[in-house]
Amino acid sequence: MTFMGGSPPSASSPSLLRMSRIAKSFGPNRVLREVDFELKAGEVHVLAGENGAGKSTLIRILGGALAADNGMIAIEGGPVRFRRPRDAADRGIAVIHQELSLVGSMSIADNLLLGREPGRLGWVDRAARAARARGVLERVGLRLDPDEPVSALPISSQQLVEIAKALSLGARIIVMDEPTSALSEPEVRRLFARIADLKAQGCGIIYITHRLEEIYALADRITVLRDGRVVASRPAGELPVGELVRLMVGRSIGDQAPRRAAAAGTVRLDLRRCRVRGEGAGRRPIVEDAALQVRSGEILGLVGLEGSGVSELLWAMFGALGKRAEVEMEIDGQTRRMSSPRAAIAAGIALVTNDRRRSGLVLSMDVVENATLAALPRFSPLGRLRRREEIEHTARTAGQLNLRCASLRQRVATLSGGNQQKVVLAKWMATHPRVLLLDDPTRGVDVGAKHEIYLLMNEWSRQGCGIILSSSEWPELLQVSDRIMVMHRGRVAASFRGGQATAADLLRAAMGHAIHE
């Protein structure tokens, strides 16, 4: 990929946007601390950082979706105050999200001119509307029939339509959050050409991506965020790849993940092939021909940035994606078809999802009911619930997990995040799994509970479980994993032996940089 932009803006280019000393906390959690950020006209400014570095919070504040606790925003020199997203849009800021905001069933023209149809007294002048819509599309180089429904367009064109809409609303500051995550290579090139046009028209672009090659293909300037702070902001030419990666990961690694003696045995799970289709027509597959093996007693780390397909791979192995996934897999040497989670559980697989409130727990039920849900047949021979056994099992497991609750009959909705996660783990302990799939099990969990979760994993692997662990906390993952595989755009891009890789190695591979084991 080559750089396609016009000439980079000079230092004297006018400042479009200046954010100064922006701070934001969620409860005790300080997400942004005194962040300064500047965008010039005709500039592509890449915002880089790991998951959780504070990029999206900063963007939401800029887009008016979130109010900063402190700090100032100025547009073309004048201070502004956004109370809602509409205020930001009125001042020429457009945020193009990964999830597009177009109404799929409506026509392109309807989407472009929603609420601003030409005509009067409610009568729409169709000819004038089509002409105006065509004019708007021209600005992003699209030649389309404005009466076509948006849902009929490929995702890349939908993105351009959204950009066109932003331009027609007078946007000069365009934020693109992972715009290429769903695009194929030719579509990515097309998008980059349009970005070059936008620069030439004097727009400023804030670009967020997890792909190194995109950063260097597009960026005029790079700002690196880490733990809510700006650690560097330099012209792209003055920030080599190695330096960038070091700045992104360079945080101290806590001793939260205890080390254990590895004792890998026979192959527990052998994933021959896995492919997951994208949702909707024309989208690229989310997982393509992934293959992996886990041995009994082994912890396999699985790493990828957002959109890499890690979660989808785990769900597919658990039979939870239905017909979207094609999976060929053996467990303990036996071929098993994963047609449903029910079948997967019967085959000895357990999945801890990365969102316990949405897919892990039934919040309206109590601790006991959640803890026995996945193994209920065992507690109800002939269909009749043996409540005493349920309670005994839960009490025993709760003891092992050091679960803190006022009563086992307490609704799990009222528990803390760490304790909720322990209930999820208790649920899977009841099924006696042979293979454990853990998708970011320590997300949103306090330090103490995190430590206990890792101890439990060690215990499980000592008992002969094969464990696949995905985590956004890479330093910890590096400590507990025997092997680590890195995924990039739906494929296994690299694999490392535990203790040999560094966070920087993982990040480079996850961002699609050439890999050498």
């Binding site: 799929g104 949702e279 909707g280 027509a281």
Partner: protein, 329 residues
């Protein structure tokens, strides 16, 4: 996306089923009468008349009876060919019926309208097109029709009241179970009855709206029974209501002390209840079906008919039920 389309198609199919279930009746009803019509055409090819009959709602047994009466009377005249339509309690459907009849060029229309106002104009259009219209049971506004045939609910209520006064010897405790008081028949059956008992010593100790429904009548009667120890007679605005009241009294073991009077006297309902000794009396609310065919024949032959035909009622009691009741009024 594909999933959404499939879902959309399925809900569309579900909606279609709902609609079809709602519409299905019309065509089958239309063919109902035509089988006899074809035979007629064979017998008297020259003087065949087609009569369109629009019924507002065949969900009510009384209206089913009306159609039966019309059909039976028409079968006696081979020159008549009947087309029946059921508006399923939908005013606009019934309006469409009249328009369809005009389009088909029938010789005469019989309509039992659901409501007066919305059907007045379609009836007038038929008259303009030269098609005579007989209006049955419920009226349209004005006088742009050929003939109205109907019974008088107020009169029937009064007759029932007078019968009750004499049966109770002028005094006693009566429970009145009313039909829907927002409907004209309910109001008339109520006010006619009250007029008749005005000067007697009859006490209405309990009155409730049972919405023409048997289970509701039973429910209200149970309340009356638990509240009053002395009930002499129940006057219900229809026979199912009277029957529901009897079921309640029967369950309380008090049916022997109470008399039951109903209205409508359908052969398989009220009249049968009288035969079984459940009701003491029922007053016929005639459908006018046979009278409508009589009038239709006269009109088609060019004879004159009165603008208004008020139907007489009959009372059925234990004494006269085997003899087919007695005319009153």
């Amino acid at each position: 996306m594909q999933h959404n389309t499939a879902r959309y198609m399925l809900s569309l199919a579900a909606t279609a089923i709902v609609c079809l279930a709602g519409c299905k009746k019309t065509p089958s009803d239309a063919t109902d009468g035509s089988s006899s019509g074809q035979a007629d055409g064979f017998a008297a090819a020259k003087a065949t008349y087609t009569i369109g009959m629009s019924q507002c709602n065949l969900g009510e047994p009384w209206r089913v009876q009306m159609n039966d009466d019309v059909r039976r009377a028409a079968e006696a005249h081979p020159e008549l060919k009947m087309i029946f339509k059921d508006a399923q309690n939908d005013t606009l459907k019934q309006r469409a019926h009249v328009e369809e009849f005009i389009g088909a060029g029938v010789d005469l229309i019989i309509i039992s309208p659901k409501e007066a106002q919305p059907l007045t104009e379609p009836v007038a259009k038929a008259m303009e097109a030269g098609i005579p219209v007989i209006v049955l049971d419920r009226r349209v506004i004005g006088d742009n029709y050929t003939c109205f045939i109907g019974a008088d609910n107020r009169l029937i209520g009064r007759e029932a009241g007078e019968w009750i006064v004499s049966a109770l010897g002028g005094k006693g405790n009566v429970v009145e179970l009313k039909g829907l008081m927002t409907s004209t028949p309910g109001q008339d059956r109520h006010s006619g009855f009250r007029e008749a008992i005005k000067d007697s010593q009859i006490n209405i100790i309990f009155e409730a709206d049972m919405k023409w429904l048997e289970p509701d009548a039973r429910k209200e009667m149970e309340s009356a029974l638990s509240r009053f120890d002395q009930i002499d007679l129940v006057y219900a605005h229809n026979d199912p209501g009277a029957h529901g009241a009897w079921l309640a009294a029967n369950a309380a073991g008090r049916e022997g002390q109470i008399r039951f009077v109903g209205i409508d006297a359908l052969p398989h309902e009220g009249v049968l209840y009288v035969k079984e000794g459940i009701l003491d009396a029922t007053f016929q609310y005639p459908t006018g079906g046979a009278e409508a065919i009589d009038a239709a024949l006269k009109i088609l032959r060019g004879e004159s008919v009165p603008k208004e035909i008020t139907l007489g009622s009959r009372v059925f009691t234990k004494e006269n039920v085997e003899a087919g009741g007695e005319p009153i009024g």
